[in-house]
């Protein structure tokens, strides 16, 4: 009995520590976003704001360029995810067990290597390429580049999930006169929707959170994303508008936390599949 008690004290103690370690910084920024500038810079620091003061949100988002940055982030995140999903569903199918062909293994190795390419390794040639095709400082340019970065992992995840679909179902459909695209659309996709949800979640997060490529390829409100905008004004000890930036930071993580709330199981499934099955 005493042992059982000790065990639960230890477990709950560790659980509280873990929750504090994770939540304190995030909550602190949330509180900062609701304070006036005076309260933010007060000494000794005030823990709670005097009231719910949304000035930081209204000022930065309604008056500044931040609403354009938010639109750009959303456009690139949603559009990039759509493009990746269309391409990756087709590719994942091509690399799954439903097809056997000579080039399959070399192509799969190419996809794995592509997944490892660091952004920094390609920005210089892409800088010239985007300039010459008029895609520099455009949302479409960033969308295409981020889609290429997120595509290999999405393909690999879908391939491993499609591999779990029983062959017998697909064979039965083929005998019934279903073409290969019919098998994909009518048999495989409907039963793989948890896999699709996982892949969408991971792809959207990858693109939404991305930084180096938007940093290099966006200059104006035409295409600049939220992380780039934050990085431009967050650097330095003094003169930073901590309250305003906290509001932008909260806006930037809202979609992420919404996904965390509603799609956590898919995220977890996709993440562990990506790590376990390769």
């Amino acid at each position: 009995m005493a042992r059982l008690k000790l065990r639960s004290v230890l477990i709950y103690g560790a659980a509280v520590l873990l929750a504090l370690y994770t939540l304190v910084p995030i909550v602190w920024v949330l509180l900062t976003s609701l304070k006036t500038e005076q309260e933010t810079l007060a000494f000794p620091p005030r823990i709670l704001p005097s009231g719910l003061n949304f000035d930081n949100y209204t000022k930065t988002i309604l008056e500044g360029d931040y609403r354009y940055y938010a639109q750009n982030s959303l456009f690139i995140g949603v559009g990039g995810t759509l493009l990746v999903m269309v391409l990756a569903i087709a590719s994942g199918y091509a690399y799954s067990k439903f097809f056997r062909y000579r080039a399959k293994n070399p192509l799969m190795i190419f996809i794995i290597i592509a997944r490892m390419v660091p952004e920094i390794a390609i920005i210089i040639p892409l800088y010239f390429l985007m300039q010459s095709y008029g895609l520099y400082d455009t949302r479409i340019g960033v969308l295409l580049m981020m889609a290429a970065m997120a595509f290999p992992l999405a393909t690999w995840l879908l391939k491993t999930f499609f591999d779990d679909v029983p062959v017998s179902i697909a064979e039965a459909a083929t005998i019934d006169g279903c073409s290969s695209i019919g098998v994909l659309l009518r048999i495989i996709l409907p039963i793989s929707w948890p896999a699709i949800a996982s892949t969408i979640t991971i792809t959207f997060l990858t693109i939404w959170n991305s930084f180096l490529i938007p940093l290099v390829f966006t200059k104006s409100a035409e295409s600049k994303t939220l992380p780039v905008a934050i990085s431009e004004v967050a650097y330095g000890e003094y003169g930073v508008n901590w309250g305003g930036l906290s509001a932008i930071a909260m806006v930037t993580i809202i979609p992420v936390f919404v996904i965390g709330l509603f799609a956590q199981q898919y995220l977890t499934a996709g993440l562990t599949a990506g790590a376990e099955k390769g």
Partner: protein
């Protein structure tokens, strides 16, 4: 015939995207790295062989960036695996509120690294930061510490920020590994008289190795290109004490316009990742056998 062509047709659009946006730039980057190509001088690329690489390895700042990257990779991965395993073991227990806690524990991993860096830059701010205030109040330090403007502390702080952000990934992979270990193994060990510590050493750790090794490779590859938090928090400073490979290459090319020299630096980073991906392919192939 159509049936034989089908997989190629499905794979083609994706391959085209990768060819244009990944493969071509890698090749082009290597080509540029063999040239002197300075955008600020308006002269066309001039072939100079491997001179850029020689200059790169003669540059003490590059060597410094290399060393900082190595320290960063080794220390942060070691911490992430130790802390990640501890959290995974905790979340593997049965207790009320476990699922909620798991959701909370994942949050840092989902946040944009730029936001994470901002959050900690604010927490650690020398003048207004809540952490300094708390530490002084408790009596652990006598006066506020300038965390990010100290050449001794800036790199450890960046390591800490990455550990805060990336441990959930490692934890999740290890947790999935733990859940795959059959309970019967532990029961058999108990019958044989093994205590908890022994079964942890002889059952848990060895059986976690496959998932841990994949996670280790993936984390290494991502840590090698560490950029976002450095750029937001220190820009490589103070006095280059947090310069890493990616910030070095970014500064030389995008800010210094030395496209040939910068390409040599990015080619080195690519080769490091490439070696990692060979190891990764080897791991996967070995498992499929």
């Amino acid at each position: 015939m159509a049936r034989r062509l089908a997989p190629y047709l499905y794979a083609l659009p994706g391959l085209l995207l990768l060819a244009v946006i990944l493969a071509y730039p890698i090749g082009r980057g290597f080509y540029l790295s063999l040239h002197k190509y300075n955008l600020s001088s308006f002269s066309p690329p001039e072939y100079i062989g491997f001179e850029n690489y020689k200059a790169l390895f003669d540059d003490p700042m590059f060597i410094g960036a290399f060393q900082h990257t190595l320290i960063f990779v080794i220390v942060s991965l070691a911490l992430e695996f130790v802390i990640g395993l501890m959290i995974a073991l905790l979340l593997h227990q049965n207790f009320k509120g476990r699922n909620v806690l798991r959701g909370i524990a994942l949050l840092p991993w989902m946040m944009p690294p730029v936001v994470t860096a901002f959050v900690w830059a604010w927490m650690l701010n020398g003048t207004y930061g809540i952490l300094n205030y708390g530490l002084v109040k408790v009596g652990l330090i006598s006066k506020p510490i300038a965390w990010l403007s100290s050449t001794d502390l800036a790199l450890p702080v960046l390591i800490f920020v990455d550990v805060w952000q990336s441990t959930p990934f490692v934890m999740l992979v290890l947790l999935a590994g733990l859940q795959n270990i059959p309970e019967s193994l532990y029961e058999a060990a108990r019958i044989d008289g093994a205590d908890a510590l022994r079964s942890f050493r002889h059952i848990t750790l060895p059986l976690l190795k496959p998932s841990a090794s994949v996670a280790l490779l993936m984390r290494t590859m991502i840590a090698l290109r560490f950029f976002d938090a450095v750029w937001v928090m220190t820009r490589g400073g103070p006095a280059s004490s947090t310069e890493v490979l990616a910030t070095y290459a970014y500064k030389k090319s995008m800010l210094g316009f030395r496209m040939g020299f910068g390409s040599a630096a990015t080619t080195v980073i690519f080769l490091l990742s490439f070696v990692m991906s060979i190891g990764y392919i080897w791991l996967i192939l070995r498992r499929e056998d």
